[in-house]
């Protein structure tokens, strides 16, 4: 029997770009650090040696400019992959993204295409703080014409990145830094994973839970702990936040009568708001309990780990929300909470993985 081929998501992203560069001469990378010795947390490591600096382009510190340049090249049929080491750097490029990239196809009545990928790495780690620690997934979901992809593990990180590069639309590929560390089986072949919406990753009849990006992992832990208490979660990994496809979620809620959405952004005006609203509008009659959301509280990301601990929800909080939703008795919720919290305490709360040595 063949050994499973295990990669981290960071390695999977590297492999996807390597294969895309090899397969299509129109593909090229642009990023501050894309060609430097650290290669965007290793996700572009070695590519400049293999493909040269014209295809793995090191960028000046000019996010708005090179995003617009990427859009212009894309309109000419090139396939740029723009990379930002932090989501926040892309705030400088909103006009190009929301204006030119998102609208080129529409305003040209379908004649222009902007096959552009924007990789955004969401910072979390040691004290990244207010301006290096935001995910802002809701921001990138706002505008029609953009796609927003949120990989939660290595297989999707590779497959969805390949699909994003092959897509004729501008795609925001939002990588949570802590997802980079997750490992799992990844096929070697360059198989795109369709950008077609949520995937059920656990089947269960008690409650429908939709999770996004890194929080899919925390939620999976929560669901596993709850399974021991007899709670069966129908768990979806959101994967694609725009265009937002909720049919499978609605079908599930019609069965379970209960909905929880867990995302990595602020709860207020977050992805969860739209999912809750849409599902409630269409499944109201089948719902047995009010929907719920788990998200970040309404304040900036604090740097100090003492404050960050209060900021980031974890598996135990997700489990608490699910427990409340299905009416699990308090004592059993408390037991699950305790188990999960104890597990989590084995690694400090501000690091994603034992291999992590800070600060990123």
């Amino acid at each position: 029997m063949r050994e499973p081929r295990v990669l981290t998501a960071a390695e999977a992203i590297l492999e996807a770009q390597d294969q895309a560069l090899a397969a299509d001469p129109a593909v090229f990378l642009m990023g501050e650090g894309a060609a430097d010795p650290k290669g965007i947390f290793g996700t572009t490591a070695g590519l400049v040696d293999k493909y040269g600096p014209a295809r793995v382009m090191e960028m000046p510190v000019s996010e708005n400019g090179f995003t617009g340049i990427a859009v212009g090249a894309a309109l000419m049929g090139r396939r740029p992959v723009v990379i930002h080491q932090r989501v926040e750097f892309c705030l400088l490029a909103m006009e190009q993204l929301f204006g030119n990239a998102a609208k080129a196809h529409y305003v040209s009545d379908g004649r222009h295409r902007a096959p552009l990928v924007v990789r955004l790495v969401a910072g979390r780690g040691w004290g990244q703080g207010p301006q290096h620690g935001q995910v802002l997934e809701n921001l990138f979901a706002l505008v029609p014409g953009l796609k927003l992809v949120l990989p939660a593990g290595p297989a999707d990180a590779k497959g969805m990145l390949l699909a994003a590069i092959a897509d004729d639309n501008p795609v925001i590929f939002l990588e949570h830094r802590w997802v980079h560390y997750v490992s799992g089986e990844v096929p070697e072949a360059p198989l795109p994973a369709p950008l077609d919406g949520p995937r059920r990753i656990l089947a269960g009849g008690d409650v429908t839970v939709v999770a996004a990006s890194y929080m899919t992992l925390e939620t999976r832990h929560a669901a596993a702990a709850l399974a021991a208490e007899g709670v069966a979660v129908d768990l979806f990994d959101l994967r694609v936040a725009r265009p937002l496809v909720t049919d499978a979620i609605q079908e599930s809620v019609r069965r379970t009568g209960r909905l929880l959405v867990v995302d990595t952004g602020w709860k207020t005006f977050g992805l969860g708001a739209e999912i809750v609203a849409r599902v409630t509008e269409s499944c109201f009659a089948d719902m047995a309990a009010p929907p719920r959301r788990v998200g970040l509280p309404d304040h900036p990301t604090p740097s100090s780990r003492a404050l960050a601990e209060a900021y980031y929800p974890r598996a135990e909080h997700v489990a608490g929300a699910i427990g409340a939703l299905v009416g699990l008795p308090d004592a059993r919720v408390a037991a699950v909470h305790a188990t999960l919290a104890a597990e989590r305490r084995q690694v400090p709360l501000d690091i994603p993985h034992p291999s992590f040595k800070g600060p990123f």
Binding site: G65, G68, V71, A74, E95, G99, S108
Partner: protein, 326 residues
């Protein structure tokens, strides 16, 4: 046009014809705007025809240009389709954008008008991106970004200049300095220094050309384009010219008091179209019969194009939600 030699009489007449055509088209838009059927903003370039025509005459069909809100002249000079332009302004399905963009989004993929964007300077990096595509494909195409004096205040313009210079891209930044951003004069927005200093800041050559002299513009652009095609990188061209009519809309607006009637009249006396006609007749390159015939033919073309645009059907409201994604 071959960069090495002087234009022939025929080419001179073609330059004149192209300017006259833009002038007459925009004057006709102005005349008909009050009918309230062109229900979108229009930014006329009357007075600035020499810049658009001189610059585009240095280009090949496959070269690409980008423009701004004030894009009619560039679009037409580069060979954009007149009927598609008017239909667009009338909001019709036959418009170059299917009625989705209006007058500020003119583009024509076949003619090399890559995009016009109404956000100031937003199309400047698009031109650099087109140049990058040419370079990556090892083609000898050139991109020209048309930008106004106001665009020079936007950070993205500087980022674009830096990038183009760093990567030696085949792009020409063609600045039409008409001394105003809307109603605000240049000296209220920028310190006093030659605009060409911006080129030096980004390590590229600058050329200055009289923006009301189509031949001067042509000459400068030919030089810049030849350099770009030869792999010598970008050039910044500054051409001074003047917008005659109001910033947006069909009227004159000197009554607002943001510029003096004298200044306006001095520029009007340097009408790029009339001055070039006079020069050609002096040179013996164009007779009154030639120019009358041109005006007649252009007039007929314009009438037909307006007829087409007005009669063309509106897009079906039910299609409004289509083509968001490719």
């Amino acid at each position: 046009m071959n960069p090495a030699r002087e234009p022939s009489d025929q080419e001179l007449r073609d330059l004149y014809r192209a300017m006259l055509r833009i002038r007459l088209i925009e004057e006709e838009i102005a005349a008909r705007y009050a009918e309230q059927e062109m229900r979108c903003p229009v930014h006329l370039s009357v007075g600035q025809e020499a810049a658009a025509v001189g610059a585009c005459a240095a280009l090949r069909p496959a070269d690409q240009i980008t423009s701004s809100h004030r894009c009619h002249g560039h679009y037409l000079a580069k060979g954009g389709d007149l009927r598609a332009m008017l239909a667009e302004i009338y909001g019709k399905a036959a418009g170059c954008c299917g009625g989705r963009g209006g007058s500020m989004h003119l583009f024509d993929p076949d003619a090399g008008v890559l995009a016009s964007v109404p956000i100031v300077a937003s199309s400047v990096p698009l031109a650099v991106g087109a140049a990058l595509a040419f370079q990556q494909r090892a083609e000898d195409g050139v991109a020209v970004a048309f930008l106004g004096d106001g665009s020079l205040e936007e950070g993205v313009t500087h980022e674009s200049l830096n990038f183009a210079s760093r990567f030696h891209l085949p792009v020409v930044f063609f600045v039409e300095n008409n001394f105003f951003s809307v109603y605000t004069p240049l000296d209220q927005r920028q310190p006093a220094r030659p605009l060409a200093a911006l080129a030096a800041a980004h390590g590229m050559p600058a050329l200055e050309a009289d923006g009301n002299d189509v031949l001067a513009v042509l000459k400068a652009t030919k030089e810049a384009v030849a350099d770009a095609r030869a792999g010598a990188g970008p050039t910044l061209i500054v051409a001074e010219t003047y917008r005659w009519r109001e910033h947006c809309g069909p009227n004159y607006d000197n009554d607002l008091g943001y510029r003096t009637e004298d200044e306006f009249l001095a520029w009007k006396a340097r009408d790029p179209v009339a001055a070039f006609a006079a020069r050609l007749s002096e040179l013996g390159a164009m007779t009154d019969t030639d120019s009358d015939a041109m005006a007649g033919a252009i007039g007929a073309e314009i009438d037909a194009a307006f007829g087409f645009a007005k009669a063309a059907p509106f897009p079906d409201g039910a299609t409004a939600a289509e083509r968001v994604y490719a």
